[in-house]
């Protein structure tokens, strides 16, 4: 297959993985986690156990050592079946303690010691680097198999050199994108897990397809296949290697069983990514079934490879070369993708897991040591640092893997590198199992066990595997690898047990041990005991949270429950646990934990504690912001309500004032009418008086009528129910009629009228009667109030660019005080001597309502010398007002 096509296929496949991971993350972010949380997805993600080593290497292993490869599958199968309850216990305890990695688990169990976690992290880094290199190498080798078929070999080889780099870079990008999106306490990565579950399916389908092809395509079915296997086993060339060695089997099963529990990537998918322990019910049978399916065709492929491929072919690549040699290019491509899946999924999960350890147990503690303990308001800083630390760690892990791959030259057999990693992480097993099963296990034991295991593993297994030093000198007949593994594990276990027995666990460890072994919620640990003087500062702290009285009441009740007088209880673990839980109800559990620790000086904060503080601080901040937003909303609503209320009050005050004003305006003429009508009844009036009083009654009755008319008019206009009778009008005619009508007011005053007659001939559509009413009112006002000796009334009409008309009516009197200009359009705003006005002060208010109804306005024009009014009119009234204009 051409190199370019292969590369394109790989890229398309990688793009698919990015897409799946992205979609799963999105779905999870939206809360659609039902199918993501399916136990089968969980089971499939466990198949990350089957890395490129098992995919390619198992066949190589089988061709060298026969059935021994099966031990790699038997160990995990035993764990998932025989030790299923223990596995469940592990998941339960780890989730209970919010454990983020295998190093964190060991640290949490043994007194929250970060130094212990740092050592486990060291093992993980040393073991994982060659293991990641192995995956890169497998991708490179599988490329090579196809590339040798390509015409221009040397150039392709140059391109191949870069393949591992590009693969490492792409995987680093994937891991950073989907592995470090959040700092959530449970550390779940839906996108990564879903992509890996999909890759698990690809792996399985590819391997089964190849197996079916080998058994039924190349051989003549299972019977023929078994014959061939038997023939190969009898071959003296392989018989020695294929011999069943019980000691090696035991060691291998033990190591692979340990690996499924301790490998960083396995701990990540099995424990950290588990939503709950219930999914282990399905995984308990489904995962062994998956392993069985993956192992079923290993031996047939190995045997057929030996038979059909030329001598000297790399057995580690039989799975690829066999279908390629048989001309099955599509099958070979499928197998290639299966191997690619195995390698990439392992690298991604391993990088996440190791990077979490490196950042949590190396980088963050170092950073904290430089910066002292952060207070909760500094935690934003911490969050950012942790995420960046994790990203840097991922890059570093990838880079180390790539460098190792380049440096090692890819010569070592694949299986050897996998086993090196297995045996390295297996050194954690004694401490892990002991911590879970034995309350007496303590930190000194863990140090001794893991430390000695690490040293022996380095000396006897790791360094020899990279060509430094030699194998363990063993008596003949003993397998050196088995001896090394058993020696390291036995010394490890004995050191662990011995130091645990001779050492003495501190109270923190004892409480954590109880929690781990009994799988019960952890109880607050403390070095403080009876009569401790730190109860007082704790009370002071509680006061700050609850208030003086409530805090004192609580402390008194606790002291009484302990049978003590006074208000300070003993700082027993029970009391501290209760206090912490109560404080947590007010300020969040991590903050409560941190505060109690800071005040009472119990134990140092762990990284997990700080992360939790960071998370809770962030959550609290978001909650606060949400509350503040809600508060602002409430304040806004309250203000709106208050404003509405003020408006209503204003309206109510205005209404009262208006009613009071109307009352006054009505009662005044009524008073005259009533008084004089009574007077008229008196017999001794002169005829002149009688006639004059009758005249007053008539005048005042007319005033009452006008007032009532005005009020009615105003009420109709204000309600918007005024009917307009619109027609086309000529302003000139209306002004002439208005001047004529107004001349009846104070006819003795000889007004000089100044008009611009040609300009007045403007046509527009409006209600002529209403407009006339306004014009008469304004002109009448001028006639009434203009105090000039020689009164002049100027009328100017023009059409603005926007259409309609503007009419200015200006007299040469003293005008209206600037302070009162804004009031004249209000109801009852009679300004001058009422004796001269003879109205109730509703005229201009009515004018304004009319003009608004007509779609125009009336306003006072200041600074014109005398009183000046501007009337503006639209070309036609708004559609909402009155009736339609005539067609």
């Amino acid at each position: 297959m051409p190199f370019e096509a292969l590369l394109a296929t790989c890229l398309a496949y990688v793009a698919l993985m990015f897409g799946v991971a992205y979609a799963a993350d999105r779905a999870a972010a939206r809360g659609h986690v039902r199918w993501l949380d399916h136990p089968l997805v969980y089971t499939m993600s466990l198949s990350v156990y089957c890395s490129a080593w098992t995919f390619y290497g198992a066949v190589g292993y089988a061709s060298r050592s026969g059935l021994e490869f099966a031990t790699i599958y038997l160990g995990p199968t035993l764990v998932f079946t025989a030790a299923w309850w223990g596995l469940r216990r592990l998941v339960r305890v780890a989730r209970m303690h919010h454990v983020t990695s295998v190093a964190d688990l060991i640290s949490a169990r043994f007194g929250k010691s970060n130094r212990l976690a740092a050592i486990v992290t060291l093992i993980a880094v040393i073991a994982s680097t060659p293991y990641i290199a192995l995956q890169l190498q497998s991708v490179r080798l599988s490329f090579e198999v196809f590339a040798t078929n390509a015409p221009n070999g040397p150039e392709i080889n140059g391109a191949l050199g870069g393949t591992a780099l590009w693969v490492a870079a792409g995987l680093a990008l994937f891991t950073i994108l989907f592995g470090t999106r959040n700092l959530a306490a449970d550390e779940r990565h839906h996108g990564v897990v879903t992509a890996i579950a999909l890759e698990a399916v690809v792996k399985l389908v590819a391997f089964i397809a190849l197996g079916v092809f080998v058994v039924w395509g190349l051989a003549d079915g299972p019977g023929d296949m078994l014959d061939r296997i038997a023939r190969t086993a009898a071959d003296p060339q392989v018989a020695e290697g294929w011999l069943l060695k019980p000691d090696r089997w035991t060691a291998l099963i033990l190591v692979s069983a340990a690996a499924i529990l301790t490998l960083p990537r396995m701990f990540q998918v099995m424990v950290v990514e588990a939503a709950d322990e219930e999914r282990l019910h399905v995984a308990g049978w489904a995962f062994p079934a998956y392993l069985f399916a993956m192992s079923l065709f290993v031996l047939p492929i190995a045997v057929m490879g030996r038979e059909l491929l030329p001598a000297g072919s790399n057995p580690d690549l039989y799975v690829l070369t066999l279908p390629a040699a048989a001309g099955q290019d599509m099958l070979a491509l499928l197998v290639f993708l299966g191997g690619f899946s195995a390698a990439t999924s392992m690298v991604v999960v391993c990088a996440i897991a190791v990077a979490t350890m490196v950042s949590n147990h190396w980088l963050v503690p170092a950073w904290l040591a430089l910066r002292r303990i952060p207070s909760p308001d500094e935690t934003d800083d911490l969050r950012g640092f942790v995420l960046n630390a994790r990203r840097m760690a991922i890059l570093a892990v990838m880079a180390a893997g790539w460098v190792y791959h380049q440096a090692s030259g890819g010569t070592a057999a694949l299986a050897a590198m996998g086993l090196v990693a297995f045996t390295g992480m297996a050194q954690v097993l004694p401490a892990m199992l002991g911590g879970l099963l034995w309350r007496g296990a303590n930190r000194k034991g863990a140090y001794a066990g893991i430390g000695s295991g690490l040293v022996l593993w380095m000396a006897l297994i790791f360094l020899p595997s990279v060509g430094v030093g030699g194998d363990l000198p063993v008596p003949p007949g003993v397998d050196p690898w088995t001896a090394a593994v058993m020696a390291s594990l036995i010394v490890n276990t004995l050191a662990f047990i011995g130091m645990s027995i001779f050492g003495f666990p501190d109270p923190v460890e004892r409480l954590q041990g109880l929690s781990f072994v009994s799988a019960v919620e952890p109880i607050r640990h403390s070095r403080m005991m009876r009569g401790d003087d730190r109860a007082e500062p704790l009370l002071a702290m509680a006061r700050k949270v609850w208030g003086a009285e409530a805090a004192l009441r609580y402390f008194q009740a606790e002291a009484r429950a302990q049978g003590r007088s006074g208000y300070l209880p003993d700082l027993t673990p029970r009391f501290l646990t209760r206090l912490e839980r109560r404080l947590a109800g007010s300020i969040g559990s991590a903050t409560a934990h941190a505060m109690i620790d800071r005040v009472a000086g119990g134990v140092a904060l762990t990284v997990a504690d700080l992360l939790q503080v960071a998370d809770e601080a962030q959550r609290a901040k978001e909650e606060t912001q949400r509350l503040e937003a809600a508060q602002a909303e409430l304040t806004r609503t309250a203000r709106q309500l208050r404003e509405a209320n003020d408006k209503l009050t204003d309206l109510s005050v205005q209404k009262d004032a208006f009613l009071s004003q109307i009352s006054h305006e009505l009662r005044t003429p009524m008073t005259s009418v009533r008084a004089f009508s009574e007077i008229l009844k008196e017999p001794d009036l002169t005829p002149e008086d009688r006639s004059r009083f009758a005249g007053i009654i008539h005048t005042e009755a007319g005033r009452l009528t006008r007032l009532l008319d005005d009020l009615l008019d105003l009420s109709v206009l204000e309600s918007g129910r005024a009917q307009l009778n619109v027609s086309v009008v000529n302003l000139h005619d209306l002004i002439t009629r208005a001047l004529a009508a107004a001349s009846a007011t104070r006819p003795e005053r000889g007004f000089l009228i100044d008009r611009d007659l040609p300009a007045e001939h403007l046509g527009l559509i409006t209600d002529p009667d209403r407009l006339l009413q306004v014009l008469i009112n304004v002109i009448t006002n001028a006639r009434k109030y203009c105090d000039a000796a020689h009164p002049v009334l100027i009328l100017r009409t023009r059409r603005p660019e926007t259409g309609g008309a503007v009419i200015d009516i200006v007299d040469n009197g003293s005008g209206i005080d600037s302070g009162r200009q804004s009031l004249i359009f209000e109801k009852f705003a009679r300004l001058n001597d009422p004796a001269r006005a003879g109205g109730a002060g509703l005229g201009l208010a009515i004018c304004r309502e009319i003009m608004l109804t007509l779609g125009g306005d009336i306003s006072y024009l200041p600074g014109q010398g005398g009183a000046a009014f501007r009337i503006t009119l639209p070309q036609r009234p708004p559609a909402s007002a009155g009736s339609e204009p005539p067609a």
Partner: protein
């Protein structure tokens, strides 16, 4: 000579009616038609009774009442005041006047009230 009654009322027709009614009872009735200058008019006339309209231009009846009660001349300050109000809420304004009469009033009521008030 001392005026019996000083009326402060801006409505000429009401003033005419009151004056007509009270003059026929034999009392000397003076008139001031504006809130402005009202206290000066009272001071000048020193009437035995002031009839005060509540709603006056420039200065309200209550303000004039306050001015009067604050006069330095104790006898003047104690001049009885009959408040005429055309507003509904006479209680508030009337609380500080000696008597209150709501417009429109009954002629007999006016005459009897004035008679009762004149010392």
């Amino acid at each position: 000579m001392k005026m019996d009654i000083l009326m402060i009322e801006d409505e000429p027709n009401i003033a005419e009616a009151v004056r007509f009614l009270l003059s026929r009872e034999g009392w000397q009735v003076g008139l001031h038609a504006d809130g402005a200058g009202a206290i000066e008019a009272i001071r000048a006339a020193t009437p035995r009774l002031v009839i005060l309209d509540l709603m006056l231009p420039h200065r309200s009846g209550t303000q004039i009442l306050d001015d009067l009660r604050a006069e330095g001349d104790a006898a003047l300050a104690a001049t009885p005041v009959l408040m005429l109000t055309a507003r509904g809420q006479s209680a508030e304004a009337g609380a500080r006047a000696d008597e209150v009469l709501a417009k429109p009033f009954d002629n007999d009521e006016l005459r009897q009230t004035v008679r009762r008030m004149l010392p």
